[in-house]
């Protein structure tokens, strides 16, 4: 037997389609963002062959090139030596 009450002819349900679409959109956007980040984490590293490490070893470099050339942080060997030998004449010849 059908126990559902008969709907009057003038009955109109509340307009919920927009709310449903909003809910689906928010859930879909969240899942899409999470999936993209998870997929990127599962993929192999972009520099899987270690190109940066290869060249830093082959050319015997001191530091990555994130800082400008000539910056003391880039070329730490350029940091001025702590002992000023200008006033110690003859020191350069000592062992």
């Amino acid at each position: 037997m059908n126990h559902r009450p008969a709907r009057p002819s003038h009955w109109q349900p509340a307009p919920c389609n927009g709310a449903r679409y909003l809910l689906i959109t928010l859930c879909g956007a969240t899942l899409l963002a999470l999936s993209a980040v998870t997929a990127d984490q599962l993929l192999p590293a972009r520099d899987a062959k270690g190109a940066a490490r290869f060249w830093i070893q082959r050319l015997t470099l001191s530091a990555p090139a994130l800082l400008s050339a000539g910056d003391p942080m880039r070329h730490h060997e350029l940091a001025h030596p702590g002992v000023d030998t200008r006033f110690c004449a003859g020191l350069e010849g000592t062992p």
Binding site: R20, A29, R58
Partner: protein, 385 residues
């Protein structure tokens, strides 16, 4: 699944409530996404850069020995330096380096040459340069291969660009010019038997400090020794200073989070009449709390997720990561910057909790406090009363 279907009508009701006040919801979405993006971009970049820098520095020489005299740096005689370094136990593979900083068309560049013999065939997919030719990094010159490159240091040098380093190695080769040893010596003013300095690898890395005294005693002239650990510590110190500055950028983000929480609490107090109406129609306090938390989750979760995803993209995708690096470090713009991604998920989870949890807690507690009042007092809070 049945539990989800049971909560679906409430979720749709919450979505309709958001639709009714779409302007406020959009602003809240943008604020939460912005806070998550700003905080995550800074923290992800700092952590990724430190990891990448540390791993690359493990491939650099343990010690670099430079000859000094009364005027500072002096050229190093190769044969004598190799003989002196070879007498120190624990020293592996002393390598003379020919390198220097020269003025290029786009700014200063690092000129390097391999004093050691290289295979004549391709090295890492690139043919080693021949006399008068150079292999350059992506940031040295925007001219196509085959064009001339003018360099100036002690003397001038004009070379033909024959190839560029691979884009994946941009973090290391961005402003590098690889030439032959003879061309480098001409540019830097070195004699044929001289080098810029000597790179030394050690058998035991923890002897880095102790072996320096032996090396200094082994050479007949004064030398200055730079070690890898000191360079790492100086980088950490600079990173801490940068982190402190980045914290100043993050303070407005935290203030914005505080304002979002305050707005959520104030908005809750302004809806008492509406809740009084719902309570009068048979809603319970638990239903109201579920409704408010559902609304907060519907706005907050996608906002924080989107902010974190954008920050992840900005830090780890090469075109955008170079811009972030330029913004935070102030160094050169490296379009092909590739950073290590390890540890990123943990940081993003921490930021999601840091941003989302106070917001949800504020909504939950404010709703619970407001809805706990009597229906009469809630209805009397209406503006028409």
């Amino acid at each position: 699944m049945m539990r989800l279907r049971r909560h679906l009508p409430l979720a749709i009701w919450a979505a309709r409530d958001i639709q009714r006040r779409w302007g406020r919801a959009t602003l809240l979405f943008a604020c939460l996404a912005g806070i998550a993006f700003t905080t995550a971009a800074i923290l992800l970049f700092s952590q990724a850069l430190e990891t990448t820098w540390g791993r690359l520095m493990q491939a650099t020489p343990n010690l670099v020995i430079r000859r000094i005299d009364a005027g500072g740096w002096a050229p190093l005689p190769i044969d004598e330096a190799l003989a002196c370094a070879g007498t120190v136990p624990g020293v592996l593979d002393p390598t003379p380096r020919i390198w220097g900083v020269a003025a290029g068309p786009q700014g200063p560049v690092t000129v390097v040459a391999s004093a050691a013999a290289l295979p004549k065939d391709r090295l890492g997919g690139i043919k080693p340069p021949s006399p008068g030719r150079a292999v350059v990094g992506q940031g040295v010159s925007r001219s196509p291969p085959g064009s001339r490159l003018e360099l100036n240091a002690r003397d001038g040098l004009s070379v033909e660009v024959v190839d560029t380093f691979p884009a994946a190695s941009g973090l290391v080769t961005h402003d590098l010019v690889w030439v032959t040893p003879d061309d480098a010596r001409q540019l830097l003013g070195l004699a044929p038997s001289q080098a810029s300095d000597l790179a030394v690898y050690l058998f035991r890395e923890d002897s880095e400090q102790a072996i320096q005294a032996d090396l200094v005693a082994a050479f007949p002239w004064p030398v200055h020794i730079a070690n890898r650990n000191t360079s790492l510590q100086r980088y950490h110190a600079r990173a801490n200073r940068s982190g402190g500055l980045a914290l100043l950028i993050g303070l407005p983000a935290l203030l914005g989070l505080l304002l979002v929480i305050t707005a959520a609490t104030v908005d809750t107090m302004g809806r008492q009449a509406h809740w009084g109406l719902l309570l009068s129609m048979g809603w319970t306090t638990a239903d109201l709390v579920r409704l408010q938390v559902s609304q907060a989750v519907m706005v907050g979760l996608p906002a924080v997720t989107l902010g974190l995803a954008l920050a992840y993209t900005a830090v780890f995708c090469p075109p955008a990561s170079g811009i972030i690096a330029l913004w935070i470090t102030g160094g050169p713009h490296i379009p092909t910057l590739i950073l290590e991604r390890s540890g990123a998920v943990l940081i993003m989870l921490q930021i999601a909790v840091l941003v989302g949890l106070p917001y949800l807690a504020a909504v939950f507690l404010a709703t619970l406090r407001a809805a706990d009042s009597s229906r009469r007092s809630l209805l009397q809070a209406a503006p028409w009363n």
